[in-house]
């Protein structure tokens, strides 16, 4: 009797482990359109109304917890933000002058102004799920292909680029954040020469980015803003439209001179996104000078 129980217990555990390993192996080697992925998308589709409802119902709990967390954080940030305001006011004055100049030059060249985000047909979406761990930097939003969302659409939030749509269903989408290890964005530092590079997540620092492939002599300084390039070279076109803020240079150090790299802090608070904008027409109205 006892040995029968032991055998049954071991058989159940062995079966469960075997099923898990089979699922893991099958899923890992599959393409995104394979049966397991399709089943997963179906389940997410079924779950999404429940998640959306629960997300709205539990919003007060999140807000209360967020209030306590923000209060503790706010005190330590006051001085830092004051300094930042002074610096940004100076930058704003420069930017306004540059904008006027830019508009005049654009008119002269008859280029379409692509800075307005409305051109890209933004769709507002609410974040209904987020993955809390370091391994998958994704959020799930309540808009899908029924609202015109497509794979590869850029996503902004908190006034800056936050990621890209990687999975689309009729009513929900999965957004991979710019801090995910699979992401890379062509970006430009707003220094005197507008140096460009590729922005990737910093290894070992999940909330930090690294702008790579800069000229080692680039006049980059801490605090300078970083935005998207939106390059176009023949038929090859950047997923992201130009001029969307991404973050600001947080540290320059010796990495610039040695490797052409600088540290960048994202402008958006990626861990507290509630509403995002999906740019469903990222290439609308962009007529940019082509790269050689």
């Amino acid at each position: 009797m006892h040995s029968k129980q032991v055998r049954r217990r071991r058989a159940v555990v062995a079966a469960l482990v075997a099923v898990s390993l089979i699922l893991l192996t099958a899923y890992f080697g599959e393409s995104p359109n394979s049966p397991l992925h399709t089943v997963q998308r179906g389940i997410v589709e079924v779950f999404s109304p429940i998640e959306e409802g629960a997300s709205k119902a539990l919003a007060p709990v999140r807000n209360v917890a967020g209030w306590f967390s923000d209060t503790f954080k706010a005190k330590s940030q006051v001085d830092q933000l004051r300094n930042q305001v002074h610096r940004l006011q100076a930058l704003l004055a420069q930017a306004q002058t540059a904008e006027i100049e830019n508009r005049q030059l654009s008119n002269e060249l008859r280029l379409v102004d692509s800075a307005g985000i409305d051109t890209y047909k933004p769709v507002a979406a609410q974040v209904i799920l987020r993955d809390p761990n370091l391994w998958y930097e994704t959020v799930e939003v309540d808009k899908g292909s029924d609202d015109g969302v497509r794979i590869g659409n850029p996503v902004t939030g908190d006034g800056a680029l936050v990621g890209e749509v990687t999975v689309v269903d009729p009513t929900v989408s999965v957004v991979t954040l710019i801090t995910d290890h699979t992401m890379a964005v062509a970006a430009r530092v707003q220094d005197s020469s507008g140096d460009t590079g590729v922005l990737v997540p910093a290894v070992g620092k999940p909330n930090q980015l690294v702008l790579q492939y800069l000229p080692t002599s680039a006049p980059v300084q801490s605090g300078q803003l970083v935005d998207t390039v939106g390059f176009r070279s023949g038929s090859l076109q950047d997923l992201f439209p130009p001029g969307i803020p991404i973050g600001q240079v947080s540290s320059v150090g010796n990495d610039l001179a040695n490797n052409g790299e600088v540290q960048v802090t994202p402008a958006a608070d990626l861990h507290h996104l509630d509403v995002v904008q999906i740019l469903t027409a990222p290439h609308a109205g962009t007529e940019r000078a082509q790269l050689p």
Partner: protein, 205 residues
Amino acid sequence: MNVQLRDYVRLPVRLIVLAFATVVIQEAAVSQISIFGTSADLTPLVVMAVGLLAGSIPGAIMGFGIGLLVDMVLFQTLGISSLLYIVIGYWSGRLRELRDPSHGLVPMAVGAGATAFAGVGMAVIQFLLGVDAPVSVLLLQQIFITVLVNTLLALPVYAAVRRVVEPALPQDPLRRRRRAYSTGGLSPLQRPSSRRGVAPGSSTR
């Protein structure tokens, strides 16, 4: 419905509802509350609590179910969380079956162990799968903070799970007998005279 059949399905139904509720609450609310840059994870705690209350087989099955649900809902690689949570549920259940720990703080210790195992296990599996992800002191720090937060949450989570699961559990004679010993009422080590007073017909000297 047949009474026997109803008793038979009561525990699985409660466990299924508990699994769904846990995943929805975890992903819709708890994971969005940041505590020192990380968030609590209720799922290993619930699996641990089910194992401690219901035994190794229900614990392992609950671990598999919750893990699969988490992987499905979060669009992760299927099977990773299931594999880790099976181990958590099974060993929590075995702890109950072999030792039957009665101390009130046992869920805290087991919850801390379960969370640490889930964090480290996830890291190891991801490295084995070749995911190019951050390897750093920060990862260990995040695991450590999650373990601390989960340790504090282990007792309330265990109490909540017990409220849901315990009414559906069959009576456990071993546990009833142990409870009787601890209150001193039915321990065979005690002499009848000290338990019931003077036995009829015995000398009073």
